[in-house]
């Protein structure tokens, strides 16, 4: 993987990324936050999986009601 891409992706940690992912479900992140998260998700499969799981949880809670 491109070393530069990797370095940019790790401007934020997984801990930070997980908080961004959650907050993005409630509000619009700032442009800089969106950029940092987007780059992190490009290089981190764990956080990408976390993001998909949170989306699934939201969908599941919606179904719970229907």
């Amino acid at each position: 993987m491109n070393a530069l891409l990797k370095a940019i992706g790790h401007i934020i940690s997984c801990k930070d990324a997980s908080r961004y992912v959650s907050r993005a479900q409630d509000t619009r992140l700032t442009g800089w936050e969106r950029w940092k998260l987007r780059m992190h998700l490009k290089v981190c499969a764990k956080c990408l999986r976390f993001e998909q799981q949170l989306r699934f949880l939201r969908e599941a809670l919606k179904r719970y009601k229907l």
Partner: protein
């Protein structure tokens, strides 16, 4: 839909409404009252049901207002006074992450989670996991995800800051995710 059919239909959703109210209010008497008021309001407003959404969704919409009213009325009473402070501090040690901010135990492979959505037992497990959340956390999370209130409405109702709200919702999602992973998805992914 004639009146008798409509009344029977309302009754079938009673249990669900009670669970939702109970999860948010954590008080079975108040939850019961709120559900009764919801059903009464629904009976009086049958004309307001357009059939565009499911009856359950329509009832949930009415329940939302009744719950918000109940919280507003009871906010100064002890059961609602449980401090949010202990549930919204994010700077403390988080066992999900290492000191360097990496995952302590990374999210596991859930296989094809969509399959779970057609299983009744999955939703039972979800209720079990929601019940395990701390009371204020569960209340806020249900307001956001089931009642679909906007974050500024929740902040206004509960007089908490947006930051506190995000922390609480983050905690709730982390806990719910982990609980479902451990109790439902563990072992499912490989079998799928």
């Amino acid at each position: 839909m004639d009146a008798a059919t409509f009344a029977a239909e309302l009754d079938t959703h009673r249990r669900y409404l009670l669970r939702v109210a109970q999860l948010q209010l954590r008080d079975s008497d108040i939850a019961e009252d709120v559900v009764q008021e919801t059903l009464l309001a629904a009976l009086g407003a049958q004309a307001g049901f357009t059939g565009k959404s499911s009856v359950k969704t329509w009832l949930t919409g009415i329940l939302k207002h009744k719950i918000v009213d109940a919280i507003r009325q009871k906010q100064r009473q002890p059961i609602f006074e449980a401090s949010f402070d202990e549930e919204c501090d994010l700077d403390e040690f988080d066992p999900m992450f290492k000191d360097n901010g990496g995952w302590e135990s990374p999210p596991a492979d859930w296989g094809d989670p969509e399959n779970a959505l057609s299983r009744r037992q999955f939703f039972d497990m979800m209720e079990f996991c929601l019940e395990k959340l701390p009371p204020n956390t569960a209340r806020v999370f249900m307001m956001r995800e089931v009642m679909e209130l906007e974050t500024d409405e929740i902040c206004k109702e509960l007089t908490i800051t947006a930051n506190n709200l995000w922390v609480i919702l983050y905690r709730a999602r982390m806990a719910l995710r982990l609980c479902l992973e451990q109790n439902w998805f563990a072992g499912q992914a490989r079998g799928a």
